[in-house]
Symmetry: C3
Subunit: 366 residues, 3 copies
């Protein structure tokens, strides 16, 4: 989908860039290496632009011998080319293939009317970016863990098997459960020791976008990946928005870096929709920092906070998601193209080596 990146669906004046000729770039390397200027005159440098006649009056720059100015420019371009190559490589790699993805739907077994889900917590090697493996602590060997999706009023049983080298527990973040099912060690239950299992059982309460995650030594365990989405669909679907695409955006920022759904750019998955479709995104922050998520090209309409409908929907293009929060937004895909979608704390999204971490794209297909 990135092949036709530079096509312009607008009928407006196409952007124009006139590159300096290739020999100039090569010359830059020579200039860098030798300190000797190329033969280009500075005036030539001034005419490479597409709109020289429209240029702002440049502020006076210190007078410099033409030869030096040209050498400086050539050196800058050579440096720029080297940096841009890394940036381009990151973009071209997107969406990069990595082993396994999180958030896979977990199909329950039905036992006497109860929806039964099995979770196994275990250490895995997790590929966050191509070739970058790190130790993760995972439910069912994926980060985020499998998505649990039930309906309000369903009877639900969750069997948790602990194959970690530490005790653990599972908290159902946002679910208003009976106290004994809340998953906080030494408040509502004993820890689940290594090798042991534990069963949670309850009736699915308040609907919405919720989470499940470890609530024992959680700074480490959640950071390493013991987390997942727990979606409760409302019994009465009349007030549910009609959406064509339903996406999760689970944020983390622990030892395995800045990730969306367990992957760092360029291994993040783009969201893909057709022109005119409506996408719901459920943001969930399982990290330790805020992440103001910025969508290019279209706005988001915020409809729910922590699973609760907002009294009135409101619009934004940058949504500040704090740890523990969930926000549901709708995006009406009215603008065709590949749109950057990233955390606007820029060091979470771009370095001198190009974009990384909390970056993905919304692709609206015309």
């Amino acid at each position: 989908m990135l092949r036709d990146l530079f096509s312009n669906s607008d009928t407006s004046t196409a952007p124009s860039v006139e590159s300096r000729r290739t020999f100039l770039r090569k010359g830059a390397l020579a200039a860098l290496a030798t300190g000797v200027a190329t033969a280009c005159r500075p005036t030539e440098a001034a005419t490479v632009t597409g709109h020289p006649a429209k240029a702002t009056k440049p502020a006076p720059t210190p007078a410099a011998p033409a030869v030096t100015a040209t050498a400086t420019l050539a050196a800058a371009r050579a440096n720029a080319d080297a940096m841009d190559k890394m940036h381009e490589a990151a973009m071209k790699a997107f969406p990069a293939k990595t082993a396994k993805h999180g958030n896979q739907p977990l199909a329950p077994r039905i036992e006497k009317g109860v929806k039964v889900f099995d979770l196994v917590a275990r250490k895995v090697q997790w590929e966050t970016e191509p070739g970058k493996f790190a130790e993760a602590w995972a439910y069912n060997e994926m980060v985020p863990g499998p998505t649990i999706r039930v309906r309000e009023g369903d009877r639900v049983r969750i069997n948790v098997k602990n194959e970690l080298p530490e005790s653990t527990s599972v908290h159902f973040h946002g679910l208003e459960l009976p106290n004994a099912m809340d998953g906080v060690t030494f408040i509502t239950q004993p820890p689940i020791k290594p090798g042991d299992s534990y069963t949670y059982e309850f009736t699915a309460p308040n609907p919405g976008s919720h989470m499940y995650h470890s609530h024992h030594n959680s700074t480490k365990q959640v950071s390493l990946g013991l987390l997942g989405a727990f979606i409760i669909e409302p019994k009465d679907r009349s007030s549910e928005p009609r959406v064509d695409v339903d996406e999760l955006f689970i944020l983390n920022d622990g030892l395995n870096g800045f990730t969306i759904n367990g992957k760092g750019f360029p291994a993040t998955k783009p969201i893909v929709a057709k022109l005119g479709q409506t996408v719901r995104i459920r943001f969930m922050n399982e990290g330790m920092m805020i992440h103001p998520m910025h969508l290019h090209g279209m706005h988001m309409t915020v409809i729910a906070k922590d699973g609760w409908t907002q009294p009135q929907p409101w619009k934004c293009d940058t949504l500040n998601v704090a740890p523990g929060e969930r926000w549901d937004v709708l995006v009406k895909c009215t603008n065709p193209g590949t749109w950057a979608f990233h955390c606007h704390i820029l060091p979470h999204a771009e370095s001198e080596h190009g974009m990384f971490g909390m970056v993905t794209a919304l692709v609206v297909q015309a």
Copy 2:
């Protein structure tokens, strides 16, 4: 109140944990010490769970000699037991006794119709956690300082005596006062020098949840404890919510650590209410970081921001409180039990040694 932690008020299937036999735990220590495996076969390890039949198909793990696997598990359990002991001790200690608590109501003297409050700013030794004393800078020897509560329209006089080794001043954060009463040194008043006193006098303006704190060398002075709540009750109480319990939640994160109302867990005080009661919580952030506060088991209904009624109440379970902000929420206590209530930036709430810092509980008594 933590005695019946593991009782289950739900009629659902009780959670089940089947521990490995005690000798196994003892064996673990032996295994750790000697590297020699216990006699248990790995298949035995697989049958300790309560729901072996329901277990997810575990992903294949590298084949290992039975003896090694068992030794590994035993070692893990021994490690887990050691860690869990610390976690349990922190929980069992809650609510831990420490010397003095902040936020004590300050009764005014009435002088010719004026409500007069006296504040003395002074260094104290403050016990944030049992046995952990630190230098605090305090009003009336408590952190947070005494709660000042007046009624809109009241004539109020605040006498401040500075017994600190630095100048200071008091800003009434959120109160729309005459400029000379705003408490900003060198903008609205000279500093109050060590040994000097200063008097503020004004008519209580806009009602709501406000604060008072130093506005001189404030990065240090507020961080060390020169802060307190300033509540102005509205003249017209018709739009006030009816609440059974009215609580403060003053957050700080300075040199004396992550605290709620001047104490770190387990020395924080739980909020206690009866089933069916309504609790108002007034969050106030006097720190340098955001603190997204997460309540388990029930939601919060947000009714006011910085003392101003929100146009419409809205619901959440995680409320992001930024420095300088105040948020009023209501909790309808519909769910009996002891519910964790903590900052969801997990390193502000839990370490490998157990929960600490910005953690407390809402106890709903059936």
Copy 3:
């Protein structure tokens, strides 16, 4: 405007400070130097306050020889005087003169009905505080870059000339543009190499408070100053608020420190309005951290987020602005005086040397 700082427009009791006599301050220095006490008795120290009769009962302090207590107090006052001198100097310097200010309006040329704006990106030396120059990367040699202001539906052309030593691009943050005009290198356009120019052209879309900034190596480039405001006025002005003063508040926190509109206190510009006037402030965060902006003396009414009208206005005195966000607020200037206006993350606003960084004032002239 700071001359009559200590005048009190209130008719209430004026604040009272009774300084210890000057000789005592001088004595403090002597006491510090020699360790020998002045001749003042401690009881004298107790009577310097204006309201001794109203003093709270001071908690018992350890008995100390009178001589020592007085010497300690004198030393404290000498220290306090030295610190206060720095605080006073910072305040007195406000608003301090520095070379150049950002956010200057950029008048377009009209070419065949198109509004044409020229931007040149270039390194400059930028004075953030008096005498403190730092390298900035700037549009048209100012930080923030010039303010671009157009009307919804206008045809707009932006010529960008890159005179930086790196490639760059311009993203119009918040504008819902055709994809090719979105300014993200290697997604929607090639980088603009050093020495090259690039032209963006589009019809001004969704109105509101938007931004433009680099979207190439942006962690560095935006941090260094490649950013500015892009305001689109609505075609239908019927729902626009009537404002007397329209201000920008662009926040940054990069290598050049904590700044509002490119300057750190005391070089920040105060907002000045007359009593009864309405000020609109457009907050824009181009930094990497949240900044909860706190206005003293009056509240702010929040009317828009990211250029989109909020469903209902709401009030606050502390507004948490996250990176990438824009918030529009109105302040009805009902309270005369010079009011502090600052980030409430106190280390962004005050050190032991006095106020600095993200501090300015709203001056309401009676």
